[in-house]
Each structure stands twice: as structure tokens, then as C-alpha cells.
Amino acid sequence: MTSLDIVFILVAVVTGGAAVMTVTSRNLVHAALFLGVTLAGIGATFLLLAADFVAMVQVVVYLGAITVLFLFGLMLTRAPIGRETLDSRNRPMAMVVSAALFGILVVLIVRAFGSNQFPATEPISSSVADLGMAIFSTWVFPFEVVSMMLLAALVGAVLLARRQSGDSGTETRVTPIREALDDSTEELDRAPAELGSGGER
């Protein structure tokens, strides 16, 4: 147990607590702010692990951009507040499943990486220069591919988020599914008659 560990435990408690608040808070804006705390805690963890550059990217990208994006998202969609409206009926299932997974993971992790085989060591990081070299030599191909992926994500996000629905604003509408071939099939619950705004041709 080094002093670094003690600091880490403090950071971890804050981070984990904030994460729990993020997914349980009844107030949307609070949830987003707790997300900010969690992300900052993760950044601090990176710092403790001596990964300075990753920590910086974390702060810039997540705290600086993504949290803000989420706040915009919450405001634009004017979501109501309160447990009933924020939590779905699947809460018990979610609790059970994630608790089970956590239990299994912790047991497995402790068995595999218990401190016996892995005593405390000083974290050693690569320098930013090394990182840059690695990205632009070994990992240059994934890097280029990611750029295309980002372009596609950008185009796609703009396309979906902007107001008009198409070049001419018309779409073929979805046809209601017609009567069953065999009677054993149940009725499709909702007649999608009200769906699809575009005109028929």
C-alpha cells in the first residue's frame, strides 16, 4: 500500500460515487453534472497512472465537449424530471444483471490479478513523443481509418439531426402489414396507420 494507492482510493470513491449518482439521479441536469465529476475522476485516475496525455485528452474531449453536448441534448429534448419518468420498469432486472456481472468480474479479477502476483509498482508511462511516434508509425492505418469513420459519423449525425427529412421532403410510407396467413398468429398490436407522414405516390 503506497501513498499513491491511498490517493487512488480517494479518487476512486469519488468517481464511483459520482457514477452511481449519474445513473440514479432524479434530476437530469444533476445527472449530467455528476457525469462530469465521474469523467474528471477518471482523468485523475489516468494522472495517477502517469498517463498524462490520455488524461489531457480525457479532460478536453469529455469534460470540454461531450458533457456539454449532453447538456444541450437534455435541454433540447425538454425531458421531465423524477424517478418515474427517468427510470424504466426494467430497473429490477438491470439491478440484478449488473450486480451479478460486477460480482463475477470482481471475483475473476481478484483471482487473476491479486496483489500476490502483481505487487505495487511505480507506474511508468510513455512520453508524449513516444506516443506520437507509435500512433504515426505502428498505428497509422487504424488512425486513417478512424478519420473516415469520424467523417461518416459527422455526416450521419448532421443528416439525422437536421430538420428536413429528405431532398424533397417525401418518403415512401410504410405499409400496414396485412392479414395473417394462418390464424394462429396474433394481431400486430398497433395498426401503423398513423405512421409515415409522406404522401403516397
Binding site: 424504466s88 432486472m93 449488473s98 451479478a100 463475477i104 394462429s184 396474433e186
Partner: protein
Amino acid sequence: MEAGLQALDYAWLVVLLPFVAAVVIAAFGRLMPLKGSEVGIAAMAIAWVTSLVIGFQTFANGPVDALEQTFWTAPVGGLTIEFGQYVDGLTAMMLVLVTTVSLLVQLYSREYMHGEDRFTYFFAMLSLFTFSMLVLVIAPNTLQAIVGWELVGVCSYLLIGYYWREKSNVDAANKAFLVTKFADIGLLVGVIVLSVGVSAHTDNVFSISETIELAMAGELSSLTVIMGCLFIFLGAVGKSGQMPLHVWLPDAMAGPTPVSALIHAATMVTAGVFFVARLYPVFIQELVVMNVIAIVGVITLFFAGFLAIVQDDIKKVLAYSTVSQLGYMMAALGVGGYTAGIFHLFTHGFFKALLFLGSGSLIHAIHSNNMSDMGGMRRYMPWTFVTFLIGSLALAGFPLTAGFFSKDEILVSAQIWADNGLAMGTWVFWLGLAGALVTTFYMARSIFLIFFGEHRGVPARPSARTVADIEAEEASGVLDPQAEGEDLAQAAHDPDTSPTTGLGGHHAPHESGWQILTALVVLAVLSFPVGLAGGFLWDEVGGSTERNFETWTATHAIEEATYPFLPGADEHSEEGGEGEHAEEEGADEGEAAGLPGGPDDVALAAGPATTVLAAESAEGEISNHVLHGAPEFHLDVFVLALIAFLAAVAGAWAIYGRGHRERDPVLHMGGLTTVLVNKYYLDDIGYRGVVVPIRDHLAPATSWSSNVVLDGIVKGVGGGVKRLANVTYHTVDQKIIDGGVNGAAFSAAWWSNKLKHLQSGDVQRYAGAMLAGVIVLVVVFAAAR
């Protein structure tokens, strides 16, 4: 290859022509003056002539080396698929049978299907169906055979479901397809098992000829042979309607009658028997395999006959009769009767086609399938009567008809088998004899009910009420047999409701037109000489090198095949297993000739070689080729058969001779009839024994596999065994199995209906289910190790 066999090179033409016809009809049929039927008939006529030439050449030249040709090859996953042709006597025999029946059926359909909506489509399908069967027949390797086999299944699906407006017909098509499809995969597995065994010795692993050679040389391990053959036999059980997978066959009557004729006589059902015969030298390597075949065959031949007795629908009588006759063929193959089995296949093809077409002629005139609606038809339809009578006599095995020769040949091969100390032979012999009696009885019953007495007309109930309706009502318990019988009786005696001339408001029954009658007459005439192909006449003509069915269909491999499991096999295999070890078929052959020969025994005398060997067998000498050669004249067998025939006819006459009785005795045999006739009663067992337990009690606990067909069948059979304790031996009725199949299908649908609710539409539940799956995977496969 000897000169004069060039026609064999053109066997592919026989296959290709129907295919071309099908394509042309499908593409241009609607534009043609005769709606495409002319193309089908013309193509089939050319194919038929070609087959006759091929048939004659192979016939005249005796057992020849097969002509094996490969037209194109295609490698798949390191293996080579070849498409080609393999022509020998067996192939030639099938070509003749298939093209003859198909040609006549098409001619017949011109009239029978006249005015149907999808007349053109029907003809395209007929041609395609014939093509599929021929692909199988000339297959030089098992893969091509599978292709043909599967195509036959698909075509039959579309033809059986032709009258789609009635749901029961569609169900029948589905059932036929699913049952045979289930069996088909057995064939696939069997072929692959054999090929894996063969692959140790040669690259051409699917070649039929090489497989046979290796099997005969004993190169294949006995496990390979047993597993391979049994799986292939499973395929044959499904396709050839052996119990317990015969359930589709009676239902397949839902198709138009010409289709029934084609299915039951020449294509589809014969595929299984043919394929077993094709690989026969492999099958005879293991006694286990032979016994399984014989047992299945004998069960089928015996029990299916009983079901025919209680049918009212003429097509169902014939359907169960087909099942029973297929049982004869299989049983014959199972007791070493190679020639007997395929000879019966050959003759049966002709007279069963005749019977179906005859029944179609009746149905065409009466607009009803039910014999209770007929009666006295011999006055209205004399041609149909005579031809139908001839077909019935042939089926019953009346002396000098085709069925007489082939069926007796089967009995004799069974006896020879028994003489070798193989108990199956005895069973096949006696049950086969009993089966013959039953066959004669139900055919006589049909004849009397249809053609004698007074015409009863379509009864008072609406003429639209079909057999399917009646069955549906019975299944739902609306009618019981008593009520049904009284109903009929009442109908017969009530002048208001049973007009003798009114025919349900239609015209009086009339004879069919020339196209139908041509087909009938040709087949009726053929019902005699095809039996003679079995032997004796040709001896006289051909001199020392006699030509008969045996020499025709005995392939080169069959000539040399021996039974490794018979005592004496050792010495012979040491000698090289060659030479005189001709096949059992020779035996049956000579047999057939000798036995039934009562009046004709002089003419029936086999050639000198076979006679010598026959003497050996008569002395009781045991060797692995003991079945080769004719035994002494079996007057006892002949007399027994004849007595059975006469007794059955007399019995039928006593009951039905004076026309339709108020109380049909076969419908009033107490518990026996209850079992045989009351479909609803037994469906009930299938329903209660399979569906309800699965649905209500077993469902939560039953594993996944319990919902699928196989398990359903097993449970259906299980329910049947319980019944057996209560009722009589009749309880082993296909209807339980039928119910089981339905039950399995039902429970699959039921599960399917439940399972779809997993797809709740709620994406978070999807996530939960997915995570749960991950956790289970991790725990079971990772953490638990």
C-alpha cells in the same frame, strides 16, 4: 461395350427432354394452342421411344457393364461433384417405367385437367417432376442422386398442394414435404458416411460404382456400412412410404389424381426402393441392415393393408395399397430378393398407375371420391370397369397377371431366405401371404362397391362436402362411425336424398373420353406382358442365353455380389469371391418362374445353369451363394396363394356381392373397427398423448429438442404402445403416428408462438437478455473450468 448398345449414350436425352419441355411450357405454354400440353406430351413421347430402345438393347444383351459417363465436374470443398449418367439394366428398367407412366399420365391429364385454371402450370410441373425422377435414376454418383431426390420432393410439394383452396390439401403438401424432408437428411448423412468410408481408398468418393466395388471387396468397415446403409434406408423409408414415415402418402391423395398416379406408380415412392436396389451390393454386406429392411418392409406390407379395408375414399384405398405394396418391395430386398423387389416395383408401377387413373376416371364422372357414392358403375362406364378390374386382379396377384409373377417371386425369395436359416424369410413369407389375402379382400370390396349393385349417387349432403370435410368432422367428434354408417344407409334408401340418376344435381355418370380411355387401355394391356418379362417366354426365344427380367436388371456388380454373413462365405472369399457366386436375384428369378408356375411349369423352367444350382440348394447345401438358382416347384406355395385369393374374393362377395349393405361389416367389427376406422378416435390419442402433455405438463420441463419432429414421433409411438395393452394388435396404427407428427408440428408451432414473445420490442429488455446470456456463457464456459 458391345456394338448395338449405342442408344445407351443417349440416355441423357431422356432426362433432358422433360426438363426442356418444362422450361418451354413455363415460358410459352400459355400462348400455345393446347396450352403447353402438346410440348410435354411430345417431349415425353420422344423420351419414351428412346427409353424403349435403351430398354430393348439392355434387355437383349443381358447383363452388361454399366455405361458410365461424366458430363461435367465441379469441385466442392476438396471433393468433386460429377454430373453424368450411369446406364445399366436397372436404369433402363426405370427409364422405361417412368417414361411410360409419365407419358400416359400426361395424355390422361389433357382430359382430366381440362379447364383447370393453371393447366399450363400443371403440365410444366409434371414434366419437371418426371425430370427430377430421371435425374435420380441415371445418377452415376450419390450426389447427383441426392439432387434428383430433393427435386422430386420439391415438385411433389407443389403438385400435391395444387388444389390450394382447401387448407387440408395444403396441410397434406406440407406434411408430405416435411416428412420426406426429414428422411432426406437421413439420406444425406448416410451418403456422407459412406463417402467418408470410401475416401480412404479412392478420390471419387461419391461414385456409386466405386462404392459398390469397395463394399464387395470388404474394404469398408462394417460400422461404415451399417451406419451408412441405415441412414440411407431412413431416406428410403420416408420417400417410399414405409412405416412409420408413410403418413404423408395417404394425405398426398389431396393432389389431382394424375399426380397421385405419377407419384404412386413411377416417381417419388419408387425412389427409395430404387436407391436401395442401386446400392444393393453394399446393403447385403451386413445382415443387420438386411434385417432392418426386412422388418420395416414386412411391418409395412402387413399393417398398411388393413387400413385399406376400412376406407371409403377410393383413392385412400389405393394409397394404403401402395404403402402395402411398397412394403412388399422392401421386404423382398430385405430377404435377398433383389430381382423380386424391383420386378414388383416394375409391375406395380403399371397396374397401380392403371388403378389410379381408373379411379380418376370414376371421380371425374361422379365428382366424388367416395365408394359409397358409387355403385353399379359397370353399366355406365364399361371400359373403366374392365380396366379397373384388370388392375385389381393384377394387384391381387391373379394368375397370369403382372402382380401374380412378381408377388409370388417375392414369396419364393422369402422362402429361400428361410431355407438358409434366416428367420426373417419365414416372417416375410407368411405375413406376405396373409398380406396377399388382405390385398385381395380390399380390392374385391372396392370392385363390388363401385361397380356392382345399384348406383347410389351422391348422397343428400351437399356435394361440396369432401372427404376432407368428413375427416374434419370425424376428427372433431361430430360423427361417429355408427352414425356415419346409418347415414349412408339412410341415404341409400331414401328416394328423396339418393337419386339414382340425379348425381347430386349433375348429369348421369358417363364414360370418360378417349384420352383417358387410351391411357387406361394401354396400361391394362401392359398389365399382362410386363409380368411375362419375368421369365419364361424369353427362355424359349433366347435359347441357352435366356433373356428375362433378371438378366436385364442384374448389374455387373450384382452378378458377383455375395453375402458375407452367410456360412460358407469364408471359403468363397478365399477363392476370391468370384465366379459362380451370382446373386440371389437369380434365385428369386428362377423362383418366380418356378413357383407360380403351377399351370405353366414347363414354360417356367429356368435355364440350365440356374437349375443346377437350384438342385444344390434343394439338397440343403449351405453356401453364401445358395440363393442362386431355383428351388423345386413349390406347389404348396402356389396352392396357398391361390386359396388365399379365392377365400378373399369369396369373403368379399359374401359381404358386398349384392351391392352396398346397410351395415358394412368391416365398419362393424367392434373395437377392431373402432381402431381402424375412427380417425378422430386415434387422432385423439395423438392429440392427448402428444400435444396435450407437451402443452400442459411437459412443456416447461421439456428440453428444446422435445418440440421437434423426431421426439414427437417417438412420443406418438409411446402413446401407441400404451394403447396396445388395451386394444388389439391393430392399435399399432399409423394414425397414432400420424397424430404424433401432427402433434410435433403443433407443438413446434406452439413453441414458436411463445418464443416470439421474447422479442418484446423493449430494447432495454433485449440488453438485459443479452447480458444474461453473456453472464451464463462466462460462468459456464470460463469460470466453471
